[in-house]
Symmetry: C2
């Protein structure tokens, strides 16, 4: 039995044995890799894709879910589906400059301050070499490049020494600049430990990651020009948006 098909635009092949969502996913993946949709760009909306392929929106959504699972696209509620950028090379060396790193890759860095608290916490206090129960400033941030969240970091500073740091941080979104305003022109890493695990729900939310994604955890101890520890920092990078480069 011959099947009459509208040959003008045969976007999907019904009854070919290949499910529609798979055909559509492969088609979009092909268009992404060939450059029709460049990294960082917005895909057509689900309704537009629905119309283009002549299928139900559920089918398009399943295709996009597959691509999101593969890490090729990222769907954001209320905005649309974006093509993921190539992983950003992030140098892990003596120098620590998030903004410089991101700008060097030709992307626009942004730091957003989530919250500040004065806390007493034994672990970071010990690593900073301070007496037990010294009050610390704990700062929570999210950093992004080209609007794509890259990392979620928690930092601890001695509260007495860095009083008011959060104001500068809030204004500039840059740790380097906030340090500069406190008379710290230069600082470097003393220790760095790297591990990895699944992102927890809070990280999924803030980094706009689907469930089951991995974060690279970088625990760093930073010191001023005299080698005195000033910052303990735990950064969680979205592992499929960054790879760490050790420059030895």
């Amino acid at each position: 039995m011959a099947v009459p098909i509208d040959l003008d635009r045969p976007p999907v092949d019904r009854g070919s044995g290949v499910s529609l969502w798979r055909q559509i996913a492969e088609r979009i993946e092909c268009e992404i890799t060939t450059g029709a949709y460049p990294p960082g760009s917005l895909l057509p909306s689900e309704s537009e894709l629905t119309e283009r392929f002549g299928v139900n929106r559920h089918t398009v959504r399943r295709s996009l879910a597959v691509l999101a699972e593969k890490g090729l696209v990222r769907s954001v509620k209320g905005r649309g589906s974006f093509v993921e950028e190539a992983p950003l090379p992030y140098p892990i060396g003596r120098r620590v400059r998030f903004s410089e790193n991101v700008m060097a890759a030709g992307r626009a860095p942004r730091g957003r301050l989530l919250g500040v608290a004065t806390v007493v916490d034994a672990e970071p206090t010990r690593r900073l070499g301070l007496p037990a129960r010294t009050p610390l400033l704990r700062i929570e941030m999210v950093s992004s490049a080209n609007g794509v969240p890259l990392s979620r970091s928690t930092s601890w500073f001695e509260a007495a020494r860095f009083a008011g740091l959060e104001a500068e941080l809030q204004r500039t979104g840059s740790v380097s600049r906030a340090f500069a305003a406190h008379g710290i022109a230069d600082y470097a890493r003393l220790e760095t430990a790297i591990s990895a695990r699944l992102a927890d729900p809070a990280e999924q939310e803030l980094l706009e990651l689907p469930t089951g994604r991995v974060v690279l955890v970088v625990e760093a101890l930073n010191a001023d020009a005299d080698g005195r520890p000033i910052q303990v920092q735990r950064t969680r990078f979205a592992a499929d948006r960054v790879h760490l480069v050790v420059n030895s």
Copy 2:
């Protein structure tokens, strides 16, 4: 109504509102953290735990599954359930000595050669700075400490220069010693890139990981004393058994 209980050994509290598997899991976790079962040791068998807690084997299995999910124990078919060791600090610097690293942590290193092949592969050839289509030796290994698999690595060498390398590798299980036998007394890292992702099924098998676990992927380019690239290596570490330490 008073419930008569055998007070001689009340290992679990039935009808307390807390499920038996949870009580047992917490009990075993407590005994692990307090040192009753030291890292690397064998837990009592499921039958013994069944008898001790007076429950069905399924219930004990569920408790162990919870602890395995948390990364505290690791069950091996035919052998038993082991208490996981603390993550091994693994230095990522100029020097590359797996055996030294592991021995420095007081554990017994072991390298097992999985396979050797002569291949032509564009990517590693380019990184080694060799002409296109140069034959390469590709070597697959698994390394372990105290019998616990830590990493799975793939290495590429120029086949002409390192002919017969696999024999030495097979005998010693050590890349350093195999290099030494080829007149390379010293070598160091040129580049290192670190990423992370979920372990694929083959890696789960070889690294004895449950599904859903994470591997740290370290891509390294190693060079001889003259700075000439000699080895491209991709190592996948079980992320909950090592953390990488960058010594800058």
